[in-house]
Amino acid sequence: MLTILFDGIAYGMLLFILAVGLCITMGLMNFINLAHGAFAMVGGYIAVVLMQQYGVPFLLCLPLAFVGAGLLGAVMERTLYRPMYSKPHLDQVLFSIGLTFMAVATADYLMGSTQQIMQLPDWLKGRTELLDGALGMGHYRLFIIAVCAALTVGLQYVLTQTRFGSRLRASVDDARVAAGLGINVNVVFALTFAVGSGLAGLGGALGAEVLGLDPTFPFKFMVYFLIVVAVGGTSSITGPLLAALLLGIADVAGKYYIPKLGAFIVYALMIAILMWRPQGLFVRQGGK
């Protein structure tokens, strides 16, 4: 029972890290980026290649995956995404889904279509049993939870307490007025987009072990990202966090207790929540 809860939390945390970047671009920048999973995949491949082929230690791979995916995000933002900001949502969706298809084909061409297999360092491989085996915790899952918790606190702090956070929120609420007040809106957006992509990359690197990594990754998890964002609402960090945790636990518990229906539980839950609160679980009043 407790083990299931633990696995669910770890899985939810992972979903959160993968989806939080999407929440930022979608909620704060009002841009629908379905290619988000592609950045996660890039991060995953960076980590796997560095580890397996160049022997870079795992802990160093994670920030490198973040930086790699973030840089790619920054470049793409400047060249491809920026002209799309002012376009209607349908254009954005078509554009980003096209980008995803290209990313999948590119990954297939460069890396091959097989599942990438990652070898974790030994200190992450073990498992700790507490309370007479009622609570079994894989060390890697503990590690995921720790990293994600730290990131959440950090992000929340940046968005609500720092000057950059308030600039970002100002730029989102009204880009023209923000620019008039001397905020460089383009830089703020570019930075935000890069960080969002970088977080996806980090999530991809962390998730390669648990979720697997192959070129179809962006499509496999697109639905999960979108559920997290839709259920959690897009205007805060806590909303998607709770949504991701809820989904992770519901998914794991559902598959454990009712394996035959396991795959449906997440979707049923999403429908129920959205009927109850169409705006998502947590909505900031007065925002766009």
């Binding site: 097989t114 599942q115 498992r127 998890f221 998914d251 394996p259």
Partner: protein, 389 residues
């Protein structure tokens, strides 16, 4: 729709008839090879292509004075594409034989074309039992999943495995594996306490494995596609299930030779049943593996490669016997071929056109620092149990 299909069929067979006449003067023997060379199953295509090239390199490219021409096309593992390519090959290229077919739906989609044009179709990879029943012109040189599953169900009860939980991917071959394993295992006095089906797009095995751990069976029987198999094995060990006394058994798909070595130590000790291991101990196999790895940059041949290699052997021998013939004559020469393959002795059952071969029980061990499926038990001449009636 039916009318359209009828017309299509009529046109096709008319063209095929015309082509047999035309081809009589033709001095080539054409093999239409359709494989998934891109997309999620590209590794299947690469293995088979390499094996086919190797066979041609070893056996020359002329048969009875005719030049062998291999036309390779990529179907991206989409059934409608496979069917279209097969149609083009039969009508435009007038191939003598169709070959390849990485997955069950691809073979099934093409079966009507083989029937209508009377072109023999050699299945080199797809493993669902029913494929050879879809057309009288289908011959299989790969294996069938029930063969492997049943062999495991025979071996397990004799080795102190009485209580088993099955875990399969939620698609056709998974059901096949689950059904045939369960039926035979129950027949042998075993007990299947729970049958779990994992969605194809399942991101995490944790809840399923935890369930298995709490049920505490003697063993967990697994069939999942090979890439997912690696993740499953790692999580199996990470969850401490091997230490809790649960064995991991399955068909050889989960310890695919192609990627086995990169799975790491989590794979050691896993017991699987399959028809081919790159470690199979025979002079012919040693030669095959050596030539294959040399020609392909160190790539290890897997069961897909051996299916392609033997498929070429069946085609070549039939072509020799008929002097580069086609249609029914060529098909007849394929039936009943008995020969030694790198996998061991095998033959093509003349009635079912399906492969009959030994199934080996293997354990993953380190051999010269590399992970291999080491065979330690043999179940001789296993026919496809799906066609027992």
């Amino acid at each position: 729709m039916q009318k359209r299909q009828f017309i299509q069929g009529a046109v096709l067979s008319a063209v095929a008839l015309a082509s047999t006449v035309a081809a009589a003067q033709d001095n080539t023997f054409k093999i239409g090879l359709i494989l998934p060379m891109t997309g999620p199953f590209a590794s299947t295509g690469k293995q088979i292509e390499a094996a086919v090239k190797l066979y041609v390199a070893q056996n020359g490219n002329t048969i009875a004075g005719k030049k062998v021409e291999i036309i390779l096309k990529d179907d991206t593992s989409a059934p409608d594409v496979t069917k279209r390519i097969a149609q083009e090959m039969v009508v435009n290229d007038q191939v003598n034989v169709l070959a390849g077919f990485g997955l069950t739906p691809l073979a099934l989609a093409t079966a009507p074309i083989a029937t209508q044009s009377k072109t023999p179709l050699v299945v080199m990879a797809a493993a669902t039992s029913s494929i050879t029943q879809a057309s009288e012109y289908i011959v299989r040189t790969s294996f069938t999943l029930p063969q492997a599953a049943v062999a495991m169900a025979d071996w397990a009860p004799k080795n102190n495995i009485k209580k088993v939980v099955t875990l399969v991917s939620d698609f056709g071959p998974g059901f096949d594996a689950e059904k045939y394993f369960k039926d035979r295992f129950l027949f042998n006095g075993g007990q299947v306490t729970e049958s779990l089906r994992v969605p194809m797009r399942n991101p995490d095995f944790a809840p399923f494995l935890q369930k298995v751990r709490d049920i505490k069976p003697d063993a967990l029987f697994v069939f999942v596609p090979s890439g997912a198999g690696a993740a499953l094995m790692k999580q199996f060990v990470e969850r401490g299930m091997d230490k809790a006394g649960i064995k991991l058994i399955g068909t050889g798909d989960i310890t695919d030779d192609d990627i086995l070595n990169s799975m790491g130590d989590a794979a050691t000790g896993v017991v699987t049943s399959h028809h081919y291991s790159a470690n199979h101990n025979s002079p012919l196999n040693k030669k095959f593996v050596e030539a294959f790895t040399k020609a392909n940059n160190g790539l290890r041949p897997n069961f897909m490669a051996v299916g392609g290699y033997d498929g070429m052997r069946v085609i070549y021998e039939a072509a020799k016997a008929t002097k580069g013939g086609r249609g029914d004559a060529l098909l007849a020469a394929m039936k009943g071929q008995i020969f030694e393959s790198p996998r061991g002795p095998m033959f093509i059952d003349a009635q079912t056109r399906d492969v009959v071969h030994n199934i080996y029980i293997r354990k993953v061990e380190k051999v010269n620092g590399q992970l291999h499926n080491v065979e330690f038990d043999t179940i001789k001449d296993v026919k496809d149990p799906g066609k027992a009636k």
